[in-house]
Assembly symmetry: C2
Homo-oligomer: 553 residues x 2
């Protein structure tokens, strides 16, 4: 069997200029990055009616793997086999997981975006620009304090952290500014992975360069000794930061193995941020395509909820249909089967685990959206299991289609694509957000916890309760909430699979991301800087004398 | 008067495809980065005879400014006005100084490389790739120790440091790996600016991807508890690091205001590294151009000495002529004039300061190379001073030409260019290195100190003496030496201008850069992570809603 990178390297790419031409992008709106990548900035006059939006999400992920990206790519490819003018809008991979566990994040098998090596490595430099802007801001903060601290920033109340696009646990807790007086002011510091930086969220939600600069200016980096918030604007560096990000703001155009156009742009964390690709890229795709397939991070309780409650407001367009990805294996895990027993048929466990899928379907329906289930097939799935899963979905009046996009590319999404098209045509989406921003922060959290997660109640730790008050005082209580929670469970306890009952959600901390425009609500211990495994994927990576990559998969 | 960025933005660029075509680069050898930037990788079959090499260097820099890059650009432009098929090979600017003091490093006035905004900001991402590879290596080291430390790396003997391409003094001295056991192993750490990373030096000296990987493999990151060196190869990550650098290895092609082709690639520090652009870029320029103008960092005692003793070996080509840049103002400072008195005529001080220029000329001549002096004119220079300087040069039989490239572009180097062409034709360079690598390390250092710096003797501190022994034991004593010294003086004391006499050079430490292939000899306190000034240049930077930059100058 060929590896992903071997399949990728055997694929014939169309020149990206041709892909852009077919989409109707004028040559003035495109800048090439080699033959296979381009940055696109549509002009005002290119404005067109928006296409249909297909949001791909999933059940709570398990170690068994769900294949959301692979399904998204195959679905778009099949839509184009049907001449539906489909365009993908996906997230950029982070180098941290690529070098660590995953080795790559550009789909798999015959459903990949290309050139996978470039996309997985530095791509067009967007994430590096964000790292640079993030750390330039840190340098400006520490320099301001060192040079006299006119603003009276309290070094113990700085909430802005440095970042690197790597998995590096040694940087989670650090001390900086050590040495003598000339080496700066000593303080505690931590590094996040770049995709967890507020600047990544800002870039993904900004509608244009002016909005980007305004959001950067609003970022709160910490507090003065008098507990007044200090913003980027106070430091007068929003112009410099926006300048560093001006190219990164432009969406990147690439293609799938089947030459479907794909915008890959932005990749914020789906827990401490909203986990969706950029508004600008999705909007660009919607203006150019008749069908746009996009994806939200982690399960539907995290990524899709944030897509629907946060991104939609900025995008000014809601999904026409939701595709919910599930696998027999993952549902069996939700039904209590251990990971090493997944290859055996287990219908009772599947039926039990189906509850997780059902809850997510109902959640999406509660936003007024029609749902189609994509059953992503794996080699060991039993016919009896696949058929049971389809029956269970039928019983709640949801279409569930088998999908084999990994093995078969677009052809693997034959029934899925037709059903998605029919659903959009037949069932009008009537989007409504879960909550109004005017609600008190506490109530917004409770609404998500109860309605989406199925929690009984929400418990606010003392610290969080204090922060709720501060947020009100500072006038930030009209912002939407972005809950950081384990992706493995509907609850805040990663070990509770299926549909946990009778649990309380515990809120530890509420962190203002004023530039991004939301309040991050931390539940449990969310890691914002991952570590490397004992044997990092990097150990298998190589490049030959001609520049051919290997070990990305 | 227009600012640099205004002049740049008013300039009409040729498409980089046309520039490449004129140079004879085949379309398969070029990858576009937008319309104005490209990566070039010549094929073996493109091999051609090498052009003439012009090395631009200078006297010891002063706060008065010398304008080496501006002279280099104007000289190449003038050569092309004369249809001499000239190509530039320059260094990439680091974002640290751009955001800090300088605001830009792409020449000035009418002698600039374009697009100056891009080149000064992220350019084609080379430096970001180096930052990433550098810090990935750090993460692999700390992870190795955390996961059981099979190699027995002593956390107190790690010499590999993390890096960022920023001026950030707070990162000079840090502690990492704090927190509980799951957060890694605590140790002292420091960050260098990326251009000071050994990976930058490796990339600049490597002849191709295979050589790059071999050099990366040889990098010594620290020592075991038994004091055995630990290399990147021991960690098995040279493949991953080379993969991260594969695009960064390709030289970048841009153009000057007058549309002279310019390769801008690599930018290592000129004290703890060799301070020249990449071997690959210079070689590419030499294959394509009949005249190649390149530049070495800081004064001729640092950059040019290292060009001639380190880079030439890797380049397999030595300069045909050296252009020594001097200014009346800087020489007056070397003659004892304070910076606020430079606008006044002062012939005695100029004559006294001339000694600095003379010493650098003689140094270059001692390598068997003909020298031409470029007097870079400033507005306040007096006719009497310029004329005296020319006379002083005449007396030692060196041609000194006035140059006004900042104000006049190529036309400002009219006489300079003709003299350079004539000198190459008339005076055959007979390059000989200063020392043979077989000499003991101590003798190599002494030779540079006495012959180039004019030191009486070299004093080795106890620590350095111990390291000399270790280097011998480990078999590294055949490597060339790369002396890190203040750029402001021929001595290791920044305050000693002119030509210091009767001083000893004090060697504090010798640091092996086995991947780069040299031993860094530290004299005095060399900062490898600069700090920001009280008012960073970034505060004046901005970008408008159309993406137009301002505040880069």
């Amino acid at each position: 069997m060929l590896s992903d990178i071997e399949i990728a390297q055997q694929s014939k790419l169309s020149s990206i200029t041709k892909i852009a031409e077919k989409l109707g992008i004028s040559s003035e709106s495109i800048e090439l990055f080699g033959n296979d990548k381009a940055k696109v900035s549509l002009k005002e006059e290119d404005k067109a009616s928006l296409g249909k939006l297909i949001l791909v999400t999933s059940i709570n992920p398990t170690p068994a793997g769900e294949g959301k990206t692979t399904v998204s790519i195959g679905l778009a490819d099949r839509l184009n086999q049907l001449h539906k003018n489909a365009v993908l809008a996906l997230r950029e991979p982070s180098l941290g997981p690529v070098m660590g566990l995953k080795g790559g994040a550009t789909g798999g098998g015959y459903s990949q975006v290309l050139p996978m090596e470039d996309i997985n490595l530095h791509f067009t430099g967007d994430i590096h620009a964000i790292t640079t802007a993030n750390n330039a801001l840190s340098a400006f903060i520490d320099n301001h304090i060192h040079q006299g601290n006119e603003l009276g920033i309290d070094p113990q109340q700085i909430i802005w952290k440095r970042s690197l696009d790597l998995n590096d646990r040694a940087l989670r807790n650090t001390l900086v500014g050590l040495g003598n007086k000339a080496q700066g002011v000593p303080r505690q510091e931590g590094f996040d992975i770049t995709v967890a930086s507020e600047i990544m969220a800002v870039l993904c939600l900004a509608s244009d360069l002016s909005d980007l600069k305004a959001r950067l200016a609003r970022i709160v980096i910490g507090y003065t000794y008098q507990k007044e918030p200090v913003t980027v604007q106070d430091l007068q560096v929003e112009g410099a930061l926006a300048l560093l990000l001006k190219e990164a703001m432009k969406p990147n155009l690439v293609q799938t193995i089947e030459q479907t156009p794909a915008f890959i742009h932005g990749g914020p964390f789906a827990n401490i941020a909203h986990g969706c690709n950029s508004v600008v890229a999705t909007k660009t795709a919607l203006r150019l395509g008749d069908y746009v397939v996009t994806e939200a991070g982690f399960g539907a309780d995290l990524g899709a909820e944030k897509f629907l409650d946060i991104k939609v407001t900025n995008l000014e367009k809601s999904p026409d249909v939701v595709v919910m990805v599930a696998t027999v294996r993952a549902l069996k895990m939700h039904g209590g089967v251990a990971v090493d027993q997944l290859d055996k048929e287990n219908l009772p466990a599947l039926e039990k685990g189906f509850a997780n899928l059902k809850k997510h379907i109902q959640n999406m329906q509660s936003f007024g959206l029609p749902v189609v289930v994509a059953i992503n097939e794996f080699a060991f799935d039993q016919e009896s299991e696949l058929s049971l899963l389809q029956t269970l979905c039928q019983e709640i009046e949801v279409n569930a289609l088998r999908s084999s996009t990994w093995a078969n590319g677009g052809m693997g999404a034959k029934e899925l694509a037709s059903t998605v098209v029919d659903t959009i045509a037949d069932k009008k989406a009537k989007y409504r957000p879960l909550y109004q921003n005017q609600l008190p922060v506490e109530d917004k959290i409770k609404k998500i916890a109860r309605n989406i997660y199925g929690a009984k109640n929400v418990f606010f730790e003392k610290n969080a309760r204090k922060q709720l008050e501060d947020i009100k005082t500072l006038g930030w209580d009209q912002l939407p909430v972005c809950i950081a929670k384990t992706q493995y469970s509907l609850s805040d306890d990663a070990s509770l699979l299926g549909v946990p009952k009778d649990f309380d959600l515990t809120v530890r901390e509420i962190s203002p991301k004023i530039g991004a425009g939301f309040l991050v609500v931390l539940t449990g211990n969310v890691l914002t800087m991952p570590g490397l495994p004992k044997r990092p994927a990097a150990l298998d990576m190589d490049v030959d004398e001609k520049g051919n990559a290997s070990g990305l998969f």
